[in-house]
Symmetry: C2
Subunit: 496 residues, 2 copies
């Protein structure tokens, strides 16, 4: 397979880029333990044991008898064999140790819930590769990378834990996940309610499919974040695209842009779309990690990074060149907060790793999320969602075509009111909240909104700078989890 | 593949035979329209249209892009575009026209519910063959024969119907099925509650797996049916096995047995186990179709056929030869009620058809149902459940090994209380009731018991000789269905 196809596809406008956006994990896979730095997780030492469980490669057929080892992590420091509980992280598109280290919430509540923590790695990510180095070789090897197979892995793993850990058998399990992992947590409770008493689905855009929500809602929220973070900020960005377009068409413009933006490699005219996509993606990422304290999730960043960025973007009516120079200063906040970067690199090859390969395939099969912009309700260049084009790109890259209606068929779309015991939490700053459940559906399908929260802020470790809204959200979440645990214990007592 | 392997496996003691028992359809696939005879369906003329819907062969992977045509039948005589409903038969292991003709209940209630009737054929049965004549060729072709794939077919088909039939979109769908089809109806409601507002699962042994129920419960119920149908009846059968054993060991015994039982082919000493299995299976089948009126489900039979059979089995203390002669008279009720048969054939080759092939594979993969006898609580020769032996036989026949715990992992075993709107009906005479849900689980997971009912009597057409218990059951079932429909309509109104 031509390796160049991947970055090209990932950079193709909007949809594939947004697919990246869902997997913040992947950009930092190469620096996995950054998150344990004192800045982001000051309080709890994360000590866990690593295990492997042999899973069928294909849960839904009997011809293929191959198995692979799924990695999972366990921390039982606060677990009580009697009266305890199990918090089960439904791993998403990346190395599970990274999620383990970035889900401080579970560590923070372990003692209160006498909980064993389990972090299960998603197949085709991290070390859980069904065919080892060949896992991404072609569509035949990728055939078993689906959400249904991943959920079945979780079910088999929970059965295994209950069978083999003395005391675990009669304990309530709660699924927890964020982003795609939050979708998996919710879907796991929907499809295997006999396995988990409830699910906390943080920042889980389960409705970012088909026409369940308007395709421009995601970029609208990104825009709102910038509009609210500084005067004229979103307007400056909106105007920057034409400035770049005009400059790139002037004599020496490409050279000037390369220098003004401190790019590592000289721009060619073919790069202009890539450049704009890369900049757009930066704004998207900033919206996702607009946390109230200095953090290191996607990049080392200051507190409220969009406010910092917006300090450079106050005047949309400047000349093209001044506007672009300010854009550089803004980008530099994201890419060079540490002051180490000598230049900025718009090539995405550095982020090509197993994780991003896997998600690119998933986005081309089941996880088809339509995105669009119109340049009016949002600050981006207008771009329609084009399924045909997307599908052709997928065929070219992976040899498969997407099945855009499948997720709705399988998981119910908006018609999920017959389920119970799921908390959907969303941060209002998080662009993914546009595809999330932000209103209560029933008494037991509950929406928790975090007005000052970006992407699954609630799953992060306690921090002195946490705003009230996330403290409230976490306490509500714990309240629900305790209720599920109590109901489980009551029903066990009744049976005795 | 050696064709002889199949009958040998199917005749191997108990488990595989019971696997046959679940599929009454299959023995009569060669005479599909018998059931439309005036005896069994006197009232309603079953007129339907036949359609085909293109399904993915593999719903759970993207590498295989093959499709096949799933057959389905529609009757919309009583359907109302406004305020109507859709009754969706979740087809089981056989030709769908046969189930359509043998599910008179749906036809009888269509007018009252203003219902469209849909009968969906199960993949790998009838005309719905994913690989045409090659569908049963090997484990590679059989790989897509699973309950999960069948449920996904149903989901896609319902979406298709709602999309293409004007008026259907906003109508409540109810899943209905009997036996394995009843299991599918219940599982469909559990896994796709967004597709159906409820399910009627008639005689669905969803707990006949692993150790959810004692493995001897099935044959105990068969025995009870015979014990209650005539004095000394079950005791005579219990004694018959040793009589056959002794006779087969005497000089000329095989010849004598051949003649006394009017067998078409001379017995050899290797046939004795087959002979006893064939006789056991006859008693099992009689227990399943012990209906209160003359019927033609598995065979043309008189009303309460076990009572008729038991008239010949009153004296367990007769000589071996008299006992066997009486066994013949009893068997003759089942095999020759019409008086046409010249001899009895213990060979099962006549029933080898696509249907029985399919179920044999399913029993060897997902549908692993442990059966056993002890000769004390039941009237059969003692036989333990031996998974190892069963698994080896499956490997020999199909090249696959069973996964006995999978159905419980997937569908929850006894831990299903979080679901809603399923009626489980069971006849107390039906041996499959032993693996069924016979007590209410919650207010909305309801058990309906038919004291005088054999295998899904409630799904059969109204009959003047129907006992009160089945009339009550049907009226309860209709009451629940009307409630589901009403709740659906209320929720639609609320959204408007």
């Amino acid at each position: 397979m031509d390796r160049r196809v991947l970055p090209l596809l990932l950079l193709t406008f909007l949809a594939p880029r947004a697919a990246i956006a869902l997997q913040p994990a992947l950009r930092t896979l190469s620096s996995l333990h950054l998150s344990t730095s004192p800045t982001s997780q000051p309080a709890v030492v994360k000590s866990y044991s690593v295990f492997y469980f042999r899973q069928k490669v294909d849960h839904f057929g009997f011809n293929n008898v191959k198995t692979f080892k799924q990695r999972y992590l366990i921390s039982d420091k606060y677990w009580k064999e009697n009266g305890g509980s199990i918090l089960f992280y439904t791993g998403n598109e990346g190395d599970i140790t990274w999620f383990c280290n970035n889900t401080g919430f579970m560590w923070d509540v372990a003692e209160e819930l006498s909980a064993m923590l389990v972090f299960a790695e998603h197949r085709y990510y991290g070390e859980s590769l069904p065919f080892g180095a060949n896992s991404f070789k072609d569509s035949r090897h990728l055939n078993f990378l689906t959400s249904e197979q991943a959920l079945a892995d979780f079910a088999e793993l929970i059965k295994h834990l209950k069978r083999t850990i003395p005391g675990a058998e009669n304990q309530p399990v709660i699924a927890i996940g964020g982003s795609y992992g939050g979708m998996l947590a919710a879907w796991f409770r929907m499809k295997y309610p006999h396995m988990v008493v409830g699910a906390l689905a943080a920042s889980a855009p389960i409705w970012q499919f088909e026409d369940l929500v308007p395709c421009n809602v995601f970029m609208k929220i990104v825009t709102t974040d910038f509009r609210k973070s500084g005067p004229n900020c979103s307007e400056s960005i909106r105007k920057s695209w034409d400035a770049i377009n005009r400059l790139s068409n002037t004599g020496g413009g490409l050279q000037w842009l390369t220098k003004a933006l401190h790019l590592c490699n000289p721009l060619t005219s073919q790069d202009i779309q890539n450049l704009k996509d890369w900049i757009s993606e930066t704004w998207v990422n900033l919206a996702m990690v607009d946390y109230p304290y200095a953090s290191n999730f996607l990049q080392p960043l200051p507190a409220w990074p969009i406010q910092v960025v917006c300090q450079y973007l106050k005047n949309p009516n400047e000349s093209d060149s001044l506007l672009v120079q300010n854009i550089f200063l803004a980008l530099n906040v994201y890419y060079n907060y540490s002051g180490q970067a000598k230049c900025l690199n718009i090539s995405k090859t550095a982020t090509s790793n197993l994780g991003s390969l896997g998600w690119s395939y998933q986005a081309c099969t089941e996880m088809v999320m339509p995105f669009c912009t119109n340049g009016v309700d949002d600050m981006f260049e207008p771009h329609m969602w084009n399924l045909k084009e997307f599908s052709d790109d997928c065929l070219k890259q992976w040899g498969v075509r997407p099945r855009p209606s499948w997720i709705t068929t399988m998981y119910g779309g908006k018609n999920i009111s017959s389920h119970a015991n799921i908390v959907f939490s969303n941060g209002e700053l998080d662009p993914w909240s546009g595809g999330g459940v932000t209103k209560d559906i029933t008494d037991t399908l509950v929406a928790v909104t975090i007005s000052e929260g970006a992407h699954h802020l609630d799953l992060r470790a306690n921090n002195a700078l946490d705003p009230m809204s996330v403290l409230l959200a976490r306490s509500l979440e714990v309240k629900h989890m305790k209720k599920w645990i109590r109901e489980f214990q009551d029903s066990v007592k009744k049976q005795q």
